[in-house]
Amino acid sequence: MSDNQTSVFVKRKRSFTLVFLGACGLFLVSAAVTGYDVIAGFESVPKAAGWMAKNFIPNAQAWSRLPNILAKLTETALVSVAVTVCAAGCAFFFSLLGTKTTKVNPWIGRTVRIIAAFFRNVPDIVWAILLLFSFGQNILTGFFALFFATFGMLTRTFIETIDEVSASCIEALRATGATFLPTVFQGILPSSLPEIVSWVLYMIETNIRSATLIGVLTATGIGAMFDLYYKRMDYSSASLVVISIVVLVVAIEMISNQIRKVIM
């Protein structure tokens, strides 16, 4: 082995040691500053687990609230589906103006993409907080917050799908002399429909999760219920809410995977 090669390995080892020592130093300094006791920290883990087991396992009282929880859960899920479908409809027509392949107009296309990027990059929680001022604690606030975020996201994905999947048949239909609408309904829609449905299903899953969080803010749906039980320190009911949300999301994921398998 030449000197040059040895020095490469030595260098690697040296820098590794330095990084390790640096990390240890950082930990010790920050522990000293915040007064963190490592041993006490680890000792409290079993205690915490015990407390969680005692409080978070749904008890009889929590189970008696199940019908109420399920009613709210259905409401939240249905609102999420409604939002996603509405947003998908708008996003499809908007994305037609935004694609490069339909060649509606380059300036309109650019504007559409910028608007979509704006709606997408403001998180739905932020939309909810902003809309709280105009609509108050109302189911509409959550609806519009989810609608804007979903609309931005779906417009972008639909534009990409159309550019990727439908470009070749758009060219062929244009070559036959077909105008814009026939091209959309006879070419773009049939060729990109499975992808579009798949994205809509994905957004429904995402939106049920987001709707829970937004519900905490807007005091509607299952989110409000969770918030209520949590603040009342009725932890077993709160955990039943969480469990039912998880069950619902997993069920919807499984159903949409089945649908995807059939349509693809």
Binding site: C169, E171, A175, T176, G177, T179, P182, Q186, P190, S191
Partner: protein
């Protein structure tokens, strides 16, 4: 008789920088079978796409059936496209629709926007579609989805779609570049019959020089956006082929014996 198509000093520059065509002039008589050959990127596709305005030529005049295509407005472009069928290397079908639906797409240019969007076709159009499919040997496939077909069958659907337009001219952009030799022959034979029996003018882009020579009456050789050969197919010499492809003896696949 006036030619059906005439290029007069046509140039095309993409994005103000890339020269695709430089001062291209030629004319095609009604009923001719012409092949454009040349290396990749020489401007073959641009020539074809200028004819139905999928690409706008930068300079020059393209006269199709007495109209200057380059100055046509939206309505006139649609009229031109209605009369012009196009066949693509990758077939460009709507894969998820049935064969007969794809064939009927050839009528979309002739229809009102709303009836076209709704996919409403008259009984006569449907009968016509099935007759064309029978001619191309696709009767059994009529209700199959296009993604179930082989490449050769897909290309026949492409031909059927263009025939559905009742075109005066068919543009074929590398129609056999993705097909095996057997399917290639079927496709070229069908197009040859269509040209002879229905008197439809055919303009081809081809990579296969031997196929071009065998099937066409006339060959246009193009190099770096300029026409370097324009004449009968049987008079194309080996030296001229090498000039078109800017190659030396022994460098082309056609040189292998």
């Amino acid at each position: 008789m006036a030619p059906i198509l005439e290029f007069r000093h046509v140039s095309k520059i993409y994005n103000g920088a890339t020269r695709a065509l430089t001062d291209v002039s030629f004319s095609v008589e009604e009923g001719e079978f012409v092949s454009v050959i040349g290396p990749s990127g020489s401007g073959k596709s641009t020539i074809l796409r200028c004819i139905n305005r999928l690409v706008d030529a930068t300079r020059g005049e393209i006269i199709f059936d007495g109209h200057d295509i380059n100055r046509a407005d939206k309505k006139e472009i649609r009229q031109i496209r209605k009369k012009t069928g196009m066949i693509f290397q990758h077939y460009n079908l709507v894969d998820r629709l049935s064969v007969v639906e794809n064939v009927l797409h050839g009528r979309l240019g002739h229809k009102h926007t709303l009836t076209g969007a709704a996919g409403y076709y008259t009984e006569k159009e449907k009968e016509n579609a099935f007759q064309i499919l029978a001619k191309l040997g696709l009767t059994e496939q009529a209700y199959k989805r296009c993604d179930e077909l082989s490449g050769g069958q897909k290309q026949r659907v492409g031909i059927a779609r263009s025939l559905m337009q009742e075109p005066r001219l068919i543009l074929c952009d590398e129609p056999i570049a993705s097909l095996d030799p057997g399917s290639s022959k079927v496709i070229m034979d069908h197009l040859s019959v269509i040209n002879k029996n229905m008197k439809i003018t055919c303009i081809f882009n081809l990579h296969q020089v031997d196929v071009a020579v065998k099937y066409s009456q006339r060959i246009i050789g193009i190099t770096l956006g300029k026409i370097v050969y324009d004449g009968p197919a049987d008079q194309l010499t080996k030296a001229q082929i090498h000039e078109i492809y800017q190659s030396n003896e022994g460098e082309l696949i056609t040189d292998v014996r």
